[in-house]
């Protein structure tokens, strides 16, 4: 009798326990397993760009050889990345080492969820924050001067063109002296009536790669320096967006085609002849069979004073940079910092460039990146960063709501470019509302 009761208890316990464990797992802590890995000595590294995974893992492995600690790089797509990180932050199970972006850093700094790196940096001879682009360092530093991330990379934007399509149309290839007007004329000439080929393709969600650049080269602005007010209704911004509207009208496929197929695929498959690509995409572009058909030139400029040459401030490339952060409640902060330190040291940054991952944030280490491909001359990207263009940091504020909204709000203007000026004003209004809410 007693034996039976004990047996029954054991069986009941066996039934209940896994269910309980299962519940815990379902309650938004699905990353628990991976962060448990941290206790056993494996660092959980999260990034969002799958084309960089291989290179980053290689550098992490090199670090593992000296540190004896394993680091596993996992990719989560951009949208899911922030959902996951936030769920992890609320549940106390963030990855150990991960990428930070200017859109989101402010929130994480305010909530003190990231590891304060100041003491580590002070005691580390490999890291000196003056070696990185100041704007990018500033992105990841709070008002009290605490560094929450060390810059990983920076990116600039350049013009890519399909040589075959230019040859067929008997047009000169784009040069570093092109203005937006030149790009428009060529784009128009390359657009065929029957819809089989277009001059260029840029959708409304290509802000950093496309229209922000145009806006700043026309002297307009997206957000003011205090990040409190929209510049989208500024006359110069509208002038720039009217130029964009002209391109949409005469050189691009209908917006529905852009949305259904994606402008990147339209360029790589030879439907669109030109596109502006951020340098972070170069690694992905190498994988195409027809990659050798493409060429690269500096981003076009706007000849504001009409003297026929590119003067200071007339050529603008939006730039941005990611940072490497660690979680504040990471189980092995010393190891996490040691990995960040290696990734951001001159050595790690040079490796990142050599491996063709992307341009490195450590000033002067990106030269190797230019040679990562023998198909293209990538020097326009580097030249823009070293004086050929004015670098403007990607417009940001505390939250990314207005930037996301803008991508949808410009859709009607893409479908009917004659409404561009009105759309800009509407965008400015909604952006100001979002910014006002942000400051409450």
């Amino acid at each position: 009798m007693k034996l039976r009761r004990v047996l029954a208890m054991v069986l009941a316990a066996a039934l209940v326990l896994p269910a309980l464990a299962g519940c815990g797992g379902g309650g938004g802590k699905s990353e628990e397993a991976s962060s448990d890995g941290g206790d056993s000595g494996v660092l959980d590294v999260k990034i969002w760009d799958s084309t960089q995974q291989e290179g980053i893992q290689t550098i992490c492995d090199e670090w593992s050889e000296t540190s004896g600690i394993e680091a596993k790089v996992e990719v989560v797509t951009w949208d899911d990345y922030w959902t996951l990180l936030e769920a992890g932050a609320s549940g106390g199970t963030m990855p150990d080492v991960f990428w930070m972006h200017s859109n989101n850093i402010q929130k994480y700094m305010d909530a003190e969820l990231l590891l304060n790196l100041n003491d580590y940096i002070d005691g580390d001879e490999n890291i000196d924050m003056t070696n990185y682009y100041e704007d990018i360092v500033e992105l990841y530093t709070n008002d009290d001067g605490i560094h929450y991330a060390i810059p990983k990379d920076y990116d600039t934007v350049a013009l890519w063109y399909n040589k075959t399509l230019f040859d067929e149309a008997n047009l000169e290839y784009p040069t570093n002296d092109w203005t937006w007007e030149d790009m428009y004329e060529a784009g128009k000439a390359l657009t065929k009536e029957d819809g089989s080929q277009y001059g260029m393709g840029e959708n409304t969600d290509r802000n950093q790669e496309f229209y922000y650049n145009v806006i700043y080269s026309y002297g307009g602005y997206v957000i003011n320096e205090d990040h409190t007010e929209s510049g989208m209704a500024d006359p110069k911004t509208i002038e720039a967006m009217e130029m964009v509207g002209k391109m949409v009208q005469d050189c691009m496929p209908p917006q529905s085609i852009l949305a259904e197929n994606g402008e990147i695929d339209l360029f790589t498959s030879g439907v669109c002849a030109m596109r502006l690509f951020g340098s972070w995409r170069v690694a992905a572009l190498q994988e195409f069979d027809n990659a050798s058909e493409w060429g690269v030139a500096q981003i076009p400029y706007h000849d504001a004073n009409g003297n026929g040459q590119c003067d200071e401030g007339e050529r603008v490339s939006i730039y941005n940079g990611l940072g490497w952060s660690a979680s504040a409640d990471c189980s092995n902060p010393d190891a996490a910092y040691s990995l960040i330190s290696y990734l951001c040291s001159e050595e790690g940054q040079t490796r990142q460039a050599e491996l063709g991952v992307t341009q490195s944030a450590y000033i002067g280490t990106s030269d190797a990146w230019v040679n990562c491909s023998d198909m293209w001359d990538l020097s326009p990207y580097l030249d823009e960063a070293t004086g050929a263009a004015e670098l403007v940091i990607m417009p940001y504020s505390r939250s990314a709501v207005w930037a996301e909204n803008m991508k949808e709000e410009f859709v009607p203007a893409w479908n009917d470019p004659s409404t561009m000026a009105d759309t800009c004003k509407a965008v400015a209004e909604s952006m100001n509302n979002a910014l006002a809410q942000e400051q409450q």
Partner: protein, 299 residues
């Protein structure tokens, strides 16, 4: 039903009750942790202006509700959701019923056909959506190629909602069909034999015997499908690009909720939207329950 008689439980009854609870515990705990707690927490959040990472929530009473109810976006997405349900529910049920009746007869390759119709149910919704997205593509899609048309299936605001609902119908037919097959096998064969002797045609048999006797199954499917259709998300999220010009005329409440709660990180506002959806679904369910007595025939 008033039972005021309080009887003291005997030891054996008590023992039984305890064990009963023990065995039900996994389900009870699961429901509390995974369903009830989130529901209550969502309702709680809907009365707050939520801070980052679940910290610093401030009570705002009905401010979220008034802004949701006065936003055109909410009502448009509710309308979109209803439009989706109006196509998905009736079509998936009628087609599934007809298929089930045909596949309930003795025929060659019967289980083969059943498997084929059930297959969409096994495929991952995201994969289904990606394949349909390609079929619908305006330039390179199979549909326009086969019909030699130039229709913007998912980018024309006038038809995009229908195109999306068709995917919904296609994916759910197999599941409904299996439920109907189960219901059909419950109907005694005698009725059909008697009807046949009396000279009733197949169509007459279908409407006079099959449809009424199947009504409990039909009611169950109608009710669960309406609830599921009002919660549609993954399909629309996968098929409609963020910059799709027809998005505003297609996106469902849950899609808008996702945008606010996870992209914009405004959990309070998002919670309010789903609480409104919950209330709406509850109203529909109550109405359906009332109708049950009228339309459902129980043996």
């Amino acid at each position: 039903m008033k039972q005021k008689v309080k009887k003291k439980m005997t030891k054996a009854q008590k023992n039984e009750a305890v064990w009963g609870l023990c065995f039900a515990a996994p389900a009870i705990i699961g429901l509390i942790v995974l369903n009830f707690y989130p529901i209550i927490n969502t309702i709680w959040q809907s009365f707050h202006k939520t801070g980052d990472f679940g910290k610093g929530n401030t009570f705002v009473a009905f401010a979220n509700y008034s802004s949701v109810l006065t936003s055109g976006e909410f009502w448009q997405s509710l309308l979109n959701t209803i439009k989706y349900a109006i196509i998905e529910v009736p079509f998936s049920i009628v087609i599934a019923l007809v298929l089930a009746v045909f596949l309930n007869r003795k025929m060659r390759f019967r289980s083969g056909y059943r498997t084929i119709f059930f297959l969409p149910m096994v495929a991952a919704p995201a994969a289904v959506a990606m394949v349909w997205k390609w079929l619908y593509n305006q330039q390179y899609g199979l549909l326009n190629h086969v019909f030699n048309t130039d229709t913007a299936w998912i980018s024309d605001p006038k038809i995009a909602w229908i195109s999306v609902a068709i995917i919904g119908v296609w994916s759910i037919i197999g599941y409904n069909m299996v439920l109907f097959l189960g219901g059909l096998q419950e109907i005694p064969h005698d009725y059909y034999e008697a009807a046949e002797i009396d000279g009733a045609t197949g169509i007459r048999q279908f409407f006079k015997i099959t449809v009424p006797l199947l009504s409990p199954t039909t009611f169950f499917i109608v009710q669960t499908r309406i609830i599921a259709a009002l919660q549609v998300f993954d399909l629309i999220y996968m098929v409609m690009d963020k910059t799709n010009v027809a998005l505003g005329k297609v996106e469902s409440i849950v899609c808008v909720f996702y945008e606010y709660a996870f992209t914009f990180d405004n959990k309070g506002y998002g919670s309010t939207m789903v609480v409104m959806l919950l209330i709406f679904i509850m109203i529909i369910t109550v109405i359906l329950q009332k109708m049950e007595k009228k339309f459902v025939f129980y043996n």
